[in-house]
């Protein structure tokens, strides 16, 4: 959302208005949920982080600035929630790897998804966190580059560079040029 078009619900939301919250929720719920599910690769974790993000908005409603871009704010908080979750889980994950146990299959499956979509989902899953969140923000959720840079806390130029790399990597995965990750992607589209 650009600075010239302020969010119509921001002012009421800053007053703690319940209806404004519900309107913002109705508008952003799918995008935020999709972003978190695809980022976490786990519906349960995504649900927890989704809930935390919205509760943070409710708690911080009065502290929002007049020029706050609510969408970017939500994605920033969601991303930070995910980062905190990863830090908390790092020890557990390292334990699993030490014990040689398989991590759970966290492929995203959307109802009505076709084979092409499934391949893209699998390729996204094979990307690193930073590449995946960047492609999710810009490619899937359609944030402007400036907005995405704000969410990720990096400069516009750095974001463009990362985006080019992430896109290249995604194409490689989809073309099967990365045997390991390509196998995961192919597995996802096999009947």
């Amino acid at each position: 959302m650009s600075e010239t078009t302020p969010d119509p619900w921001l002012s009421a939301l800053r007053q703690g208005d319940r209806r404004a919250f519900e309107q913002v929720y109705a508008r952003e719920r799918k995008a935020l949920y999709g972003f978190l599910v695809r980022l976490c690769r786990d519906g349960n974790v995504a649900s927890d982080l989704f809930q935390n993000t919205w509760l943070k908005l409710a708690r911080g409603a009065r502290e929002l600035r007049e020029d706050t871009d609510i969408r970017a704010w939500l994605f920033t908080v969601a991303r930070n929630e995910y980062r905190s979750y990863c830090r908390a889980q790092a020890l557990d994950l390292s334990r699993l790897l030490t014990l040689g146990l398989d991590t759970p299959d966290l492929a995203v499956s959307a109802p009505g998804a076709n084979a092409g979509a499934a391949a893209i989902e699998a390729a996204l899953g094979a990307l690193g966190d930073t590449e995946r969140e960047l492609l999710l923000l810009v490619g899937v959720e359609g944030l402007e580059l400036q907005e995405a840079a704000q969410v990720m806390g990096i400069s516009y130029a750095a974001l463009r560079q990362r985006l080019v790399r992430a896109r290249k990597r995604l194409v490689e995965l989809l073309d099967g040029r990365d045997p390991a990750a390509g196998a995961t992607a192919r597995k996802a589209v096999e009947p």
């Binding site: 703690g16 208005d17 319940r18 919250f21 519900e22 929720y25 719920r29 799918k30 995008a31 949920y33 999709g34 599910v37 695809r38 649900s47 989704f50 809930q51 919205w54 509760l55 908005l57 409710a58 708690r59 409603a61 009065r62 995203v108 959307a110 109802p111 009505g112 998804a113 092409g116 979509a117 893209i120 989902e121 996204l124 492609l135 999710l136 810009v138 490619g139 899937v140 359609g142 402007e144 580059l145 985006l163 080019v164 896109r167």
Partner: protein
């Protein structure tokens, strides 16, 4: 405008993921509670200044003393015939 939009269009075609209805309910329910809690501090009455409380108490005591004095005089007049 994002110059890579065209090349990223396949990502845009990914289906939207719908949050489960129970998650929607839970989020709204809890958020409404939080928003209601935010309103409560305004509803708490401000603490009365100590000087004002003392002045009010003194005035009230004087009023009761005066009323008692009037009642005692009336009683004395009645009893003395």
């Amino acid at each position: 405008m994002n110059p890579l939009n065209e090349e990223l269009s396949s990502l845009r075609d990914l289906p939207e993921l719908e949050p489960p209805p129970e998650l929607d309910r839970l989020v709204i329910e809890r958020a409404v509670d939080v928003l209601a809690d935010l309103e409560r501090p305004d509803a708490v009455p401000a603490r009365l200044p100590r000087v004002e409380v003392l002045a009010y108490t003194a005035g009230l005591a004087m009023y009761f003393a005066q009323a008692l004095n009037v009642a005692a005089r009336f009683l004395a007049r009645v009893l003395s015939g």
